[in-house]
Symmetry: none
Subunit: 136 residues, 4 copies
Amino acid sequence: MYFEELTIGQSAQFGKTIGEADILMFAAVSGDTNPVHINAEVAAASMFKERIAHGMLSAGLISAVLGTRLPGEGAIYLSQTLKFRAPVKIGDTVTARVEITALDAAKKRATLSTTCTVAGKTVIEGEASVMVPSRA
Amino acid sequence: MYFEELTIGQSAQFGKTIGEADILMFAAVSGDTNPVHINAEVAAASMFKERIAHGMLSAGLISAVLGTRLPGEGAIYLSQTLKFRAPVKIGDTVTARVEITALDAAKKRATLSTTCTVAGKTVIEGEASVMVPSRA
Amino acid sequence: MYFEELTIGQSAQFGKTIGEADILMFAAVSGDTNPVHINAEVAAASMFKERIAHGMLSAGLISAVLGTRLPGEGAIYLSQTLKFRAPVKIGDTVTARVEITALDAAKKRATLSTTCTVAGKTVIEGEASVMVPSRA
Amino acid sequence: MYFEELTIGQSAQFGKTIGEADILMFAAVSGDTNPVHINAEVAAASMFKERIAHGMLSAGLISAVLGTRLPGEGAIYLSQTLKFRAPVKIGDTVTARVEITALDAAKKRATLSTTCTVAGKTVIEGEASVMVPSRA
């Protein structure tokens, strides 16, 4: 979308079920082999009681909404804040939702609240800033 | 590491070369199929001139340092801020570096500056907050 | 670690849960498409009763301990012997443990006993030899 | 093949080109994130001058020959010795070759010499022992 098409309050979402293979592949790509993600025995003895997904894996779904839906292709990701509120477990379906909260017409920038939920419970919250192509 | 072993100024880093397969696998895991990452023709016509890695993929290397080196296993990721300063291209080696900037003994929390660089140039900067297990 | 920091009896371990995706990816990388690993029907009719992981996949965890923990980065893998004692099934957590059993100061070589276990039962045993960087 | 079909001197081979994605996937499966495999800058400063494949990745090709060609499906992998003679680099085609050197009719076991070469140069040598199903 072009900057001129954006309005405050517009929203979009994207959901994905997180499987064991997602965690394996995220560990490969990031190098994050923390045992709480890849070792079921260590994870069972942790406060989480089972393996959990990397927080940044769920954050990747926010990137997916921003880059493919709102504002979509052409937007440039400037910043993101992330508060990790609760763990995501294998089999959970994470839904990332973004909503435009501010628009800066001079700089062609949009601010969006960004939330990831599992079964209605917030697992990540934060804010993104993106630069959006202008029609002009 | 235990909270009691941490001191302000401690640092650690982790580096990884980002290949085409990393981008493919991150797209699969996150669902972020923005063409600037996976379509060489669209990317060539973009301001980046070629495919770039997902910003959140590089951010994953910060998670790797925090979860495996400093503070390492057992730390709980509370929050992360990310400013995306420059693109990462296929073949770039991203080095994530974290440094302890503040310690809250009452809450067993550490604050760390977090930076990703490519050939000395900052591509991401931000700050992380983690809760660290205590010996007590 | 440097050769000078090593002592007989030092040990390290690394554990990982082996999922179906691990077996798929190891088959892809190695080309080992033996049906006992990737065909649930053939495997069910075999003496193992279900799909088992490639022995060399579990052996890879020994490589992980040697290359990232003890002796860690910079060590050069010279040799490995492997005796496959029992199968590893999907969902098993394999823990690889290495322990220094001999040090050759003239050649800067360390010998380590290497064991993989699942729930305390040995699935692989053997011995590794590595060359370790010297401080001198 | 059945034990009764095997003769000393029989051989088989399997070759595969090792790409960057193979190394990434092997790192994921094994947890071996040693920088000499995944960090081009660290690898460039090492004695190898560039990223090298995990030794156990090439060893996986021996497993592929044994499990799919000679003796093939149904054989049970008992043991393997590995001497890592030279590094394998990205783009190298590794050819694993096995040759029967001894047969134990009482135990239905075959011993095989196992070699991996790159452009005719030996990168791994060793010996495998397998138990082979009998027609009887």
